[in-house]
């Protein structure tokens, strides 16, 4: 029986008065709820003391609060999610991050790179990523969109390209958005949501989020929810974002389905004009693109699969009078039994 999943929006990078944020966890949670998020990750700088308020705030707001922390080191900011025991960063140098990765993973936690190309010290201390990572498979995710209206920022475009380069090297690494949310109050810029395909079979809600991030069941958007799946009529199989298509023979024909849910968080975004461009990107570069209009949100087409390791969908359009990427999915990967 197939595991049922629901796509839900999260905000994965937040701060409170426990570090340098100016809102309490309760104020932050209420604001997140008002913005249509299902949950937030509490990632205060180098402390987890705010987690003591977690149960009470979750009960009052019905918002999931994922336990986390942002290591605010001298050589990069590192996001830890799903951890409940403090892990130390103060003895790390730029060349030995890997000495702590097992400790985090042993707790069932995830390691993410925060805003890797933001201007660093002394303007923003430790914000630029200097760690030499020997094996990127030890890193679970990269915050490729940081801040508000992230895709128009050059530092995020560079992070997005960095992620793409890692995918092309064969790494399966998840990409997310994070607002780095410090202060209360409304902002006029578009806000991203990281949508996660939440499994209904796991009992613990935080575990479901961690599992979705780990598996790359992630779609990121400033607007409508962008989805992608692959079907094979030969195998009668369907593969979704984060999964691996296993090919039984080289002649196999696959159908690609790109879908757009314009009802997702519909009260929190606005597009300029109806025409949206959807592109299918891959390790071979852009494979195809289509114009999508409101009311025709599904595209189905057959694809030549030779040489593919991964594909992802990207959505472009106009927002606040800017031509911009509006959404992207994490990849569906390809593997061939014939190669084994």
């Amino acid at each position: 029986m197939r595991d049922l999943k629901t796509w839900l929006p999260y905000e994965l990078h937040t701060h409170t008065k426990h570090s340098d944020g100016t809102h309490t966890l309760m104020e932050l949670a209420k604001s997140a709820k008002e913005l249509g998020y299902q949950g937030i990750a509490l990632t205060d700088h180098s402390t987890m003391s705010g987690i003591r308020e977690r149960e009470g705030v979750m009960a009052a707001t019905h918002l999931l609060i994922i336990r986390g922390m942002e290591w605010t080191t001298f050589y990069g900011h590192v996001l830890l999610l799903g951890v409940d025991q403090f892990v130390d960063w103060r003895d790390l140098s730029p060349v030995d991050l890997q000495k702590r990765t097992a400790e985090i993973h042993d707790q069932g936690g995830l390691i993410g790179v925060a805003h890797p190309f933001r201007v660093g010290s002394p303007m923003c201390t430790g914000c630029f990523w200097h760690y030499q990572v020997q094996d990127w498979s030890e890193i679970d995710y990269i915050e490729v969109w940081s801040g508000v209206f992230p895709p128009i920022q050059k530092s995020n475009q560079r992070a997005f390209q960095f992620w793409t380069d890692l995918l092309n090297q064969g790494y399966r690494i998840t990409a997310v958005a994070g607002r780095d949310w410090h202060n209360p109050g409304r902002v006029i810029e578009p806000l991203a949501a990281t949508y996660l395909a939440i499994s209904e079979t796991q009992k613990d809600v935080e575990d479901r989020v961690i599992e979705a991030l780990k598996r790359g069941r992630v779609s990121v958007s400033l607007g409508p929810l962008l989805l992608l799946h692959v079907t094979s009529t030969t195998q009668k199989m369907k593969w979704e974002i984060g999964e691996t298509v296993v090919l039984m023979n080289r002649e196999e024909k696959l159908k690609i389905v790109i879908d757009l849910d314009v009802t997702a968080r519909a009260n929190y975004w606005e597009l300029n004009g109806e025409a949206l461009r959807v592109a299918l990107n891959s390790n071979l570069g852009y494979l195809t693109e289509f114009i999508m209009k409101a009311g025709t949100p599904k595209i189905i087409f057959e694809l030549e699969i030779t040489g593919l390791f991964w594909i992802r969908s990207e959505l472009y359009g106009r927002m606040q009078e800017c031509e911009t990427m509006i959404a992207f999915t994490n990849p569906i990967y390809f593997s061939s039994l014939l190669d084994i």
Binding site: S19, H45, S46, S49, Y75, V119, G120, S121, P122, M123
Partner: protein, 161 residues
């Protein structure tokens, strides 16, 4: 009452990205310790020197073809600030961190409550370590002062630089 620790020092830009640690022995469990931590100056007032630092450092963060655009707007990175943060470990482990920009901080860890960023609870007998993390020192000199004491004595006029 005698303080558990009282220290001050002067650091300079070479000390950026270093830690200063003070470790002292707490002979009996404590229900409350207080920490006063100050440093000054907070901001770099010399705009000419600030511009020089910004233009020099931007080179390592911005790709060459975008550098001019950033350099033309170097003022957006003002003011440059010193940032020293304080964290505490005791015999039970990590007790928290105050990662915030205030250059004068009055912190406490008590049995039932603690300053934001720290975990409440009795401080067990044993070694207590205060770590000052020098994220950035941009001024030629930066003077810090630290005082740690037990009990309910307040913070007023405890430390002046």
């Amino acid at each position: 009452m005698e303080p558990l620790l009282q220290a001050e020092g002067i650091v300079n830009p070479n000390c950026s990205k270093t830690h200063i640690q003070y470790t002292f022995y707490l002979p009996k469990p404590s229900n409350k310790i207080n920490i006063q931590f100050n440093y000054e100056p907070k901001e770099m007032e010399d705009l000419h020197a600030a511009k020089e630092i910004i233009l020099k450092e931007l080179g390592q963060f911005i790709l060459e073809d975008e550098r001019e655009e950033y350099s033309d707007h170097w003022e957006r990175f003002l003011p440059l600030k010193n940032l020293l943060t304080l964290s505490i470990d005791d015999a039970s482990g990590f007790r928290g961190c105050a990662h915030r920009h205030d250059p004068a901080q009055q912190l406490m860890i008590g049995e039932c409550e603690a300053s934001l960023g720290f975990l409440p609870g009795v401080i067990p007998a044993g070694l207590v370590r205060i770590t000052l993390s020098l994220h950035a020192v941009v001024t030629n000199t930066c003077h810090y002062a630290l005082k740690v004491w037990e009990g309910d004595e307040g913070f007023e006029n405890m430390v002046t630089l």
